[in-house]
Symmetry: C2
Subunit: 289 residues, 2 copies
């Protein structure tokens, strides 16, 4: 293949694969190279633009560490993370949404009715529902790993003023599949903008905001794990989430209730003096194939 | 755009651009996102594969520094670097080829007839030719920044046993556009395989070899700069350069000559006792538009 040309380079690339290459790896790499080559040909990518791309990747590499994952953020704002969620979703279950870079492992177990709000300022949100199979049968022993930002818009991993597991907890459903907890009403927040991804957003006139949400990872034996987010329908960024995470079935109305209707079985029962919000959120898991 | 779907996500991405976005940036980013989305949909990229991709990029980031540019190597082995060369090449001039990661700035000026071989073992190669415009008129005052590996297959920047500018030099053409120097016959060598790019090569059954070459950057006032490589036609890796750098017009025959024909005007004149090789390489520059 002495004469590599801009027309035959993808075939030459293909001819380099060894005969023992894993077929799936071959498929993925070939599709990747084909699209990369088509991209470069279509826009007639210049050397200066290529150089900017290399510098961007090197900067993203330098800024990344155990706590900061700039390549994940890049995937998020390009829509790739959401697309991977969507092409792997199954219509019988609750839609999945982006994991994002702020989940931390090892959150403490919390009992039914736990209060994650504590003394933080903000409206009380009572989130509750059932984990079920696609037919609506309750799933007992499902775990819901819950995390969200504090009212300042920061996750505990971003905020030295919060405890490690502030606004994090894992609840396990009982025989009726029910879960329920109180927290503070989540707020809209921005993705980090002080790195190369922030520069892309700025240069393309995009804002860095995400609509407020509760973040869940739901797991149960024999079912596909579900990573998802729950959004209130009055959030100003609902229709323009910078990471493309919103799906129709993940949008909820937070319904205000009078204080004297606050249910029993919650840590805050009998202590609520003001209106509180309720989010009823059932979560449907799909059996493993 | 509350209902982002796998079908409409590229349009949603497009709708996020601000009205003042630079048109070329918009074009490049939109083509990039379109191909990235098409790729993920076509192969139905799994979360595990996405995760491997993120880990690959983070590893490439960690291994990169001032001396090592793993993202450049990635671009090279995927054919992107060569494709950028080719889509920007002009047919009237000598073909360009990949810059690669081993060029260093500030090489010393060398006079016509300089010897870069010194005491290194290997065959003497006399490289010579003229720098001309597309009509064959000589270009005086053109600079040729020359670099190559030592006989051990390493560039000086990779090899603590070499001086900084070992096998590097910049020669300036005289009124006749001529250049000429002696060196050691270059050898085939491998790209670095101890990082994530090496892992890709290994997993896809590809070897890491590049055919031997002389590397040139040719510059002259009023002409497009040329980055190119010159390959001998008997190199075993000529038809399978792992970075896709070979072009038909960059392949030369190194012609053996008897010692007593060694020309005057070279540092080695009168000192050559064995056969030497000659590479006649004219270099055509294209005027700036």
């Amino acid at each position: 293949m002495r004469t590599v040309t801009s027309e035959n380079i993808t075939s030459v690339f293909m001819s380099y694969f060894g005969p023992d290459t894993d077929p799936r790896l071959r498929e993925v790499m070939l599709a990747l190279a084909t699209h990369l080559h088509d991209f470069a040909r279509e826009v007639k990518l210049t050397h200066a633009e290529w150089q900017k791309g290399i510098e961007f990747l090197e900067w993203a590499g330098r800024i990344s560490d155990e706590e900061r994952h700039e390549f994940v953020l890049l995937s998020d704002v390009l829509g790739l993370s959401s697309l991977v969620d969507m092409v792997n979703s199954v219509p019988e279950g609750t839609s999945s949404s982006v994991l994002g870079p702020f989940h931390i492992s090892g959150a403490p177990a919390i009992p039914f009715g736990f209060d994650m709000k504590r003394d933080y300022e903000g409206e009380i949100l009572l989130a509750r529902g059932r984990v079920t199979d696609p037919q609506g049968n309750p799933i007992a022993g499902a775990t819901i790993d819950i995390w969200q930002t504090a009212p300042n818009g920061l996750y505990s991993s971003q905020d030295p003023d919060q405890d490690t597991y502030s606004f994090h907890g894992i609840q396990t459903t009982g025989a009726d599949g029910a879960y329920g907890f109180t927290t503070v009403k989540p707020v809209s927040y921005t993705v980090p903008t002080d790195g190369p991804v922030g520069q892309i957003l700025n240069a393309t006139g995009r804002h860095p905001w995400r609509p407020s949400h509760l973040h869940y990872i739901v797991k149960a034996e024999g079912y596909r794990p579900l990573v998802t987010e729950i959004f209130p329908d009055d959030d100003p960024y609902l229709d323009e989430d910078t990471v493309f995470g919103v799906r129709e079935d993940l949008v909820m109305t937070y319904v205000p209730h009078a204080a004297d209707t606050f249910p029993d079985g919650y840590m805050l029962s009998g202590k609520v003096n003001e209106t509180y919000l309720v989010a009823d959120i059932d979560l449907k898991l799909v059996p493993l194939a």
